[in-house]
């Protein structure tokens, strides 16, 4: 009986507070705002993941790392050693954050989280790839080189101008009996010596003047003893952004930072090859 009375008085206490207006219902606008901020947070995390993902694609293409795995074991080893792993760690953290945010949605938590995690990875991977194809980062990189990109400028120069030792990209200007003459993207002319040891997935005989090639091998006095050479499609090496205006840079107009202008970190890898 006493317990019953106590229970009634507890109920009454809260109800009295409700009736007196001491306890208020949150307005609908509060929940709308909360949902809006939540959606905004998800979009921000996903947007940043896509930006970072496309930046990773940009950096591995800009430095030539992207073309290395096709050059056999030395190329693959160089690829793994020079990969921007720090950016990969960052993007993994962002995907975990996105998953934690999305986990609050009924459509996400009601299914095993593995599904949403796979969806996120696929979305970020392909979304990043598509964004990278828009040349957004190539344009921003150009601005960074001209010191016209505040805040992100050093990041672009750091990752985009990073030179991978023993890796070279350039245009074939002459085909010789024992090799090639290549004009590199930073404007130098190098002689590439090929031999039976040189791996060339496309076939050395297929390489002609005007082709863009990636070469791995140690350079000494303007000569590279090539461990691997391969043709790359001109537009694949999109560090040269497409023509945007008659005054703007067009395909083939980019000639790199030039000797002595490099400001990014240099990776020493020749000893590991």
């Amino acid at each position: 009986m006493i317990q019953e009375q106590e229970k009634k008085s507890e109920d009454r206490e809260l109800l009295e507070k409700i009736k007196k207006g001491e306890v208020k219902r949150r307005p609908k606008s509060y929940f709308l705002m909360r949902s809006f901020l939540y959606a905004l947070a998800i979009l921000a995390v996903l947007g940043f993941s896509l930006f970072l993902g496309s930046f990773i694609f940009f950096s591995i293409r800009a430095t030539g790392i992207f073309f290395l795995p096709i050059l056999g074991f030395p190329g693959l080893k160089l690829f793994l050693l020079s990969f921007p792993w720090i950016l990969i760690v960052l993007i993994v953290l962002l995907i975990i954050l996105a998953e934690a945010l999305l986990k609050r949605l009924h459509v996400v938590y009601s299914k095993p989280l593995l599904y949403s995690a796979i969806m996120l990875v696929v979305l970020v991977f392909f979304g990043s790839f598509i964004i990278e194809r828009t040349h957004l980062h190539a344009r921003l990189f150009e601005r960074a080189r001209e010191d016209m990109l505040p805040v992100m400028g050093p990041v672009y120069r750091g990752f985009g101008d990073r030179q991978i030792r023993d890796t070279c990209i350039g245009e074939v200007t002459a085909v010789l009996a024992d090799g090639l003459i290549v004009e590199t993207v930073d404007g130098r002319e190098v002689r590439v010596i090929t031999s039976e040891r040189t791996s060339c997935p496309c076939g050395l005989e297929q390489i002609d003047t005007g082709d863009m090639v990636v070469i791995i091998g140690e350079e000494e006095n303007g000569e590279i003893s090539a461990l691997g050479v391969n043709k790359i499609a001109g537009e694949d090496y999109w560090l040269r952004p497409p023509k945007v205006s008659p005054q703007g840079p067009g395909p083939g107009s980019y000639r790199g930072p030039g000797p002595g202008s490099y400001r990014g970190p240099r990776i020493e890898l020749s000893s590991r090859l």
Binding site: L14, V23, K24, R25, R26, Y109, S110, L113, L114
Partner: protein
């Protein structure tokens, strides 16, 4: 309409009226759920004062957030969700440790689990009697779905909404809880012989 008139209305209809300024009707919802909430809290905390405080906080939060309740969905999982969060917060504060892991592999990978069908109702009643004895010896993550399923009659889907986990995870946790309880019961039997 008198008190008995409201008895004809569903929880969702009453919640909808509370949203539309019939605030005094919140008392009807409190009356309907106070016992259930106390029973739920009592399965995880023993201190009577704490149980009373948790239940009060659950109703307070439910009232404050009533406008976020979607009246097309069921009211009870929504209220149990608030109670679940309150309990987790209280236990975390009191025990100074994580009650539920940040990432549970059970929620991550798919499981092929089906909800028990009505033919298993008899088994359900039998298990309920057994469960009473061993429930308190189960881990938090197993105790909660077992209690909600066998004592409160919530479906797997509703429990999934309360706990914010996949439906298949609810199934696997109940299955594992039953295995653990069977083990505990056998152990008890062996000891008594």
């Amino acid at each position: 309409m008198g008190e008995s008139g409201w008895d004809m209305k569903s929880d969702e209809q009453i919640a909808s009226l509370v949203q539309a300024d019939k605030i005094e009707l919140f008392g009807v919802l409190m009356e309907r759920y106070e016992g259930k909430m106390k029973r739920y809290a009592a399965k995880f905390i023993s201190n009577q004062e704490d149980i009373k405080d948790v239940v009060q906080d659950v109703f307070l939060k439910a009232y404050e957030n009533i406008r976020s309740f979607d009246t097309r969905r069921k009211f009870s999982p929504w209220l149990y969700r608030i109670a679940h969060n309150e309990l987790v917060n209280l236990l975390r504060k009191k025990e100074k440790r994580k009650v539920l892991p940040f990432l549970d592999l059970d929620t991550f990978i798919p499981h092929n689990i089906r909800e028990e069908n009505p033919k298993q109702e008899i088994e359900k009643r039998e298990i309920k009697e057994t469960v009473q004895e061993c429930l308190e010896r189960l881990e938090f993550k197993y105790r909660e779905p077992v209690f909600l399923y066998y004592f409160e009659g919530l479906s797997y889907k509703e429990i999934a909404d309360v706990l914010g986990i996949p439906v298949s995870t609810v199934g696997i946790r109940i299955k594992r809880a039953k295995e653990k309880m069977r083990f505990l019961m056998n152990k008890k039997l062996r000891n008594s012989l």
